[in-house]
Symmetry: C2
Subunit: 195 residues, 2 copies
DNA sequence: GCTTGATCTGAACGGGTGTTCATATCATCC
DNA sequence: GGATGATATGAACACCCGTTCAGATCAAGC
């Protein structure tokens, strides 16, 4: 036995990524073995090394892809020009984007400590570009006199913190729909910056 | 060689806990070996089993202790009777308590997935007792007509989310002092519930 | 249909894992 | 100062780890 029938990198590659994503999110990077990932893919452990140089890069690749997707999707998201409209767009985008990929969000936050300093800095830079976008919205709103707040950076952290926290409790079949949650949080974000 | 000079469980026990806390927080539960913990304590791996039945219980014990300390400290915290005063007390307590034990806070949130279902439920029950305290403050304030909010449970999550997030960016030698941060967040919490 | 390169297997590598236990030494109390 | 229990060692257990690689089999293009 060697190459198996039907095998193709276009199929196996994405399956490796999805299996790693799921298992890393569920058990943590360090707790997951290459053999577990391989089993989930339906392949032997050695075959994984056709798709990643090593385990570390598998994690880095997942995190980097997620952060780049986040930035790209945010740039493509429709945004009004006025600060209030942009703040609403940011709020709804964040909730929507994060709710669709809870595993990647979880990993990108949890597994930072398993990165080498260079990889960590790379991911942190992408993250702070995103945070910076929110800070700018807040500063613009203050300058226009429509937002009132003491510290734009701290307020930005507070907003992101409370929005990201949603993933820890939201359930599809729960008391509230996604639309309910979006509406509630948009109201709260408005309160946080209201003049 | 066997028992070493000066050895005593009153000394070694706490050192085992502190070493485990520090290493679990830094590298993650699964990534830390019993031999690493033992090295940090200055002892051989076998000696750790005088202080914990196994590695899992070492984690559970740390998390349970943290959650119980949290609840006990909150109950002992001075609390006014009016909802606004209680909300301020909760806000300042949470920031103060969490800032003093960032490692335990981190572990208690991050390593939930490494618990067996029974231990998970135990920790989750303690956590929800704490959350419930905030929900009650909010509900009382609404009833008294001094708070305005749409959903007490979601607002409670939002408040806890934004307060807990502080630990991810606050630095002792940063731009803002602890008192600055407390003041900023108390202002924001007030905005979140203001009538 | 043959060739070529992509894809996977299966075994092996050195080393690390959590845990147990017989044994030795120390601290403590009579 | 001798007896007793608490405390640690160090070796061993069976097993799992990430990674490598020669060789086998398949897919794809000529």
């Amino acid at each position: 036995m060697a190459r198996t029938r039907g095998s193709h990198s276009d199929i196996t590659g994405p399956r490796v990524e999805r299996a790693a994503l799921r298992l890393f999110a569920k058990h943590g990077y360090a707790a997951v073995s290459m053999r577990q990932i391989a089993t989930e893919v339906g392949v032997q452990a050695g075959a994984l090394y056709n798709y990643t140089p090593d385990k570390q890069m598998l994690l880095v690749s997942l995190m980097k892809t997620h952060m780049q997707d986040l930035l790209a999707a945010y740039e493509a998201w429709p945004k009004p020009v006025d600060p209030l409209g942009r703040l609403e767009a940011f709020t709804r985008f964040h909730l929507s984007f994060n709710s669709e990929r809870p595993e990647a969000v979880f990993i990108s936050y949890m597994e930072l400590r398993n990165l080498t300093p260079e990889h960590f800095n790379e991911i942190a830079a992408l993250r702070s570009r995103y945070e910076r976008a929110l800070v700018e919205i807040l500063e613009d709103g203050v300058q226009d006199g429509i937002f009132q707040l003491e510290d734009a950076r701290v307020t930005a952290f507070a907003i992101i913190g409370m929005l990201t926290q949603v993933n820890t409790w939201f359930r599809e079949d729960g008391r509230l729909s996604r639309a309910d949650v979006e509406a509630l949080y948009w109201t709260m974000v408005q309160r946080l910056v209201s003049a």
